[in-house]
């Protein structure tokens, strides 16, 4: 058994904007933007062995598709998973954006669907139509569909398909991630998502949710993988981790429920989640750059090693 680790990279960061006193010479203003920092975080996650980056959609921050493309250009292995609302583009155009991304960056795109606007009653139908049309035009044969939100006649990304290298094969449709735990979301993701990401609830509570979701997926004749969005504060000693967690909370980070402890403690907690079927961890840790190296150096070896032994 192997697990996937995604590094959460928010669309903005406030802690890195230190200003000098006006009497101190500072060449930075106007030269750097958040993207310069985000690229460093992305490279850190890539170098430290994480499998991907989750780019949450934040109205006050950079837009994840554009940011993601810039990050993809400057990384080699990490998967890029932008979060977006299904209404963001026409379904054909969403497919085209994705296809180009897969061509340019060797199949490293994932889709995180944002479906948390409870006031939008149509959100699941719209998302479903988006996926039906986007997957439909992904093929080489002309595709027709008439829906309430998206329609297409004779659509197919055939021209881009013709470009495929014979041995490299067809570009992969991005893995579809969804998250949330209300009934509508569970029902939707059981039928349409590849990975359902839960919040880091206690394993017992989660076991119940996973069971319910698996039954829904079984009914739909599908297998869905499960992920966990988990804030982590890990240090060599648990006392150091608790001190750091308290500092983060005082600084306004929502880390009250973070997994906190020594590297071995955290690895054990994650293994417990792996035991009940979690195969994908979306990790929040701040500061994003330094913690990517820290967890890459100290946590990932512990996380992967016992799993490999069991698989062996």
């Amino acid at each position: 058994m192997s697990v996937e680790t995604l590094w959460a990279l928010p669309a903005r960061e406030t802690r890195r904007q230190v200003r000098f006193h006006q009497s101190v010479r500072d060449e930075r203003p106007g030269r750097f933007t958040y993207a310069d920092y985000a690229v460093q975080v992305a490279r850190a996650a890539d170098l430290a062995g994480f499998d991907g980056l989750l780019l949450p959609n934040d109205p006050d921050g950079d837009e994840p598709w554009v940011l993601g493309s810039a990050l993809a250009r400057e990384t080699r292995h990490v998967k890029i998973v932008p979060e977006f609302e299904p209404r963001f583009a026409s379904a054909v155009y969403a497919a085209k954006l994705a296809f180009t991304f897969q061509r340019f960056f060797n199949d490293r795109l994932g889709w995180m669907l944002q479906l948390d606007d409870a006031a939008d009653e149509d959100r699941f139908l719209r998302a479903q139509e988006l996926l039906v049309v986007a997957e439909g035009v992904w093929g080489e044969a002309p595709f027709d569909f008439t829906g309430r939100f998206f329609s297409v006649a004779g659509g197919a990304l055939f021209a881009l398909h013709r470009t495929q290298n014979v041995r490299a094969g067809i570009r992969r449709f991005p893995a579809v991630y969804a998250s949330g735990d209300d009934e509508g979301l569970l029902a939707f993701s059981a039928r349409h998502a590849d990975v359902h990401v839960f919040a880091a609830l206690e394993p017992q509570t989660l076991t119940v949710l996973l069971g319910r979701h698996r039954r829904l997926a079984d009914d739909a004749g599908r297998a869905v993988r499960y992920g966990l969005r988990v804030p982590i504060v890990a240090r060599e000693y648990a006392t150091e981790a608790r001190t750091e967690r308290d500092r983060l909370i005082a600084a306004g980070y929502p880390f009250a429920g973070a997994l906190t402890g020594s590297y071995a403690d955290i690895a054990e907690r994650l293994h417990a989640y792996a035991e009940i079927g979690i195969t994908s961890f979306v990790i929040d840790a701040v500061p994003r750059l330094e913690e990517a190296y820290r967890l890459g150096e100290y946590l990932l070896p512990l996380l992967h090693a016992p799993l490999l032994e069991r698989a062996g």
């Binding site: 921050g61 493309s69 810039a70 061509r103 006649a153």
Partner: protein, 399 residues
């Protein structure tokens, strides 16, 4: 009217569906569009594995070359068979410094609020190098391919709403809008995305509906190259419509150029390209049922049945057979470096405030045109200089 002292921006084209090695050779050997043709440099061929080069790497080289050669930016066209210009621009912005990205799109592709957010993000990470080329017209099967079933003239109404919403949310929160196509409640770019410069809007379209919409919303009205007399009349129409709205029109022209040290060498390139054109290609182009008014205007420059490339010379240094040599607009400029620069000066004299040029292959020709033609091009100073008398022989030098 633009100020005389204002420097005229010259853009280059970024090839979005592969690149040909020359006008003489049809296969797109650069990129993976014809990976099995002889001489193909399709990315990934060396090991076919992930982690190798992709077509983006070549596009980035073209952008770097054009930037180094002095071009103001690049046009990234968008058609069903092309890669996507938003993804490409975000990646190429990181590899360039001053080069602008003129992103072609139709309002039906993206939600206007999403477009504003993507653009503001790209403005941030490129330090303000985003330009729009908004396309509205066309129609028929290609429009349905995109999943767009809105009729031709209604699409212009949608474009107007799209730009209202885009500029509305750009101006900040709270922004509300209730249109036929778009509704926004309490919108507006916030936080890091607020307060950035709005991209210039280049607007294409030749129909009456297009010209009306351009008059209201365009910073630059962008046209393919046509015969200068026709182009001048078209610009006059836009100028009149725009003046009625109390606005001032600006113009941009797109043209492929075949520039060589001598006119003979330039026409030789055309002749060698022409020799590989099959009769059925000529027939297909003549019979093409153009959906856009602009395409129909260009089709009018095709004579009955051309018996040689000379039949397609419509004015000194202007050749209407470019579309036979690749997926390009019909008319291009062919001549010596001096002649090409003079024809570009002519375009300024009829009103061009910006140019979008292209040549094959896009990488090497970016350097050639930047180094050999642009230094001879006068820009707005052409307005103070009498046009040189053009050689009377239209095609004579070609033979």
């Amino acid at each position: 009217m633009a100020l005389r002292s204002e420097r005229l921006p010259v853009y280059w084209r970024i090839p979005m569906t592969g690149d040909m090695s020359s006008w003489r050779n049809a296969p797109k050997t650069r990129g993976d569009w014809t990976p099995r043709s002889a001489g193909s440099l399709a990315p990934g061929r060396r090991d076919d594995g992930p982690g190798g080069y992709t077509y983006l790497d070549y596009m980035t080289e073209v952008a770097r070359a054009a930037e180094a050669a002095g071009f103001y930016g690049g046009l990234l066209p968008s058609f069903p068979e092309t890669d996507d210009p938003w993804i490409a621009s975000a990646a190429m912005a990181r590899a360039t410094t001053t080069f602008r990205f003129m992103i072609a799109f139709q309002p039906g592709f993206l939600d206007p609020v999403q477009t504003a957010r993507m653009s503001a993000t790209l403005q941030r990470l490129s330090h303000g190098r985003v330009v729009y080329n908004i396309i509205t017209g066309g129609g028929g099967p290609q429009q349905h391919w995109w999943g767009d079933f809105v009729g031709h003239d209604d699409r212009y109404a949608r474009t107007a709403e799209f730009l209202d919403v885009l500029k509305g949310v750009w101006s900040g929160a709270p922004f509300d809008y209730a249109g036929d196509f778009y509704q926004v409640t309490n919108g507006g770019l916030r936080g890091a995305l607020a307060g950035l410069p709005v991209p210039d809007v280049y607007f294409s379209g030749s129909s009456d509906a297009a010209i009306d919409a351009a008059s209201a919303h365009a910073d630059y009205y962008l046209s393919w190259l046509e015969h200068p007399h026709d182009l001048e009349r078209k610009f006059d129409r836009v100028r009149e419509r725009t003046a009625l709205l109390g606005r001032e029109a600006r113009f941009a022209v797109r043209a492929h150029v075949i520039a060589r040290p001598t006119e003979e060498e330039a026409w030789r390139e055309v002749r060698l390209g022409w020799e590989r054109v099959r009769p059925d290609q000529i027939e297909m182009l003549r019979n093409r049922k153009a959906e856009s008014v602009g395409s129909r205007r260009l089709a009018a420059y095709q004579p009955g049945v051309p018996t040689g490339y000379e039949d397609l010379i419509i004015a000194p240094n202007l050749w209407s057979g470019i579309a036979l040599l690749g997926d390009f607009p019909t008319i291009g400029i062919v001549g010596s470096y001096e002649q090409v620069a003079e024809r570009l000066d002519d375009l300024v004299r009829i009103g061009a405030d910006a140019l979008v040029l292209a040549g094959l292959p896009h990488l090497e020709e970016a350097y050639r045109v930047g180094e050999e033609v642009l230094p001879l091009f006068l820009g707005r100073a052409a307005l103070d200089v009498e046009p040189p008398r053009v050689a009377a022989s239209v095609a004579g030098a070609a033979r």
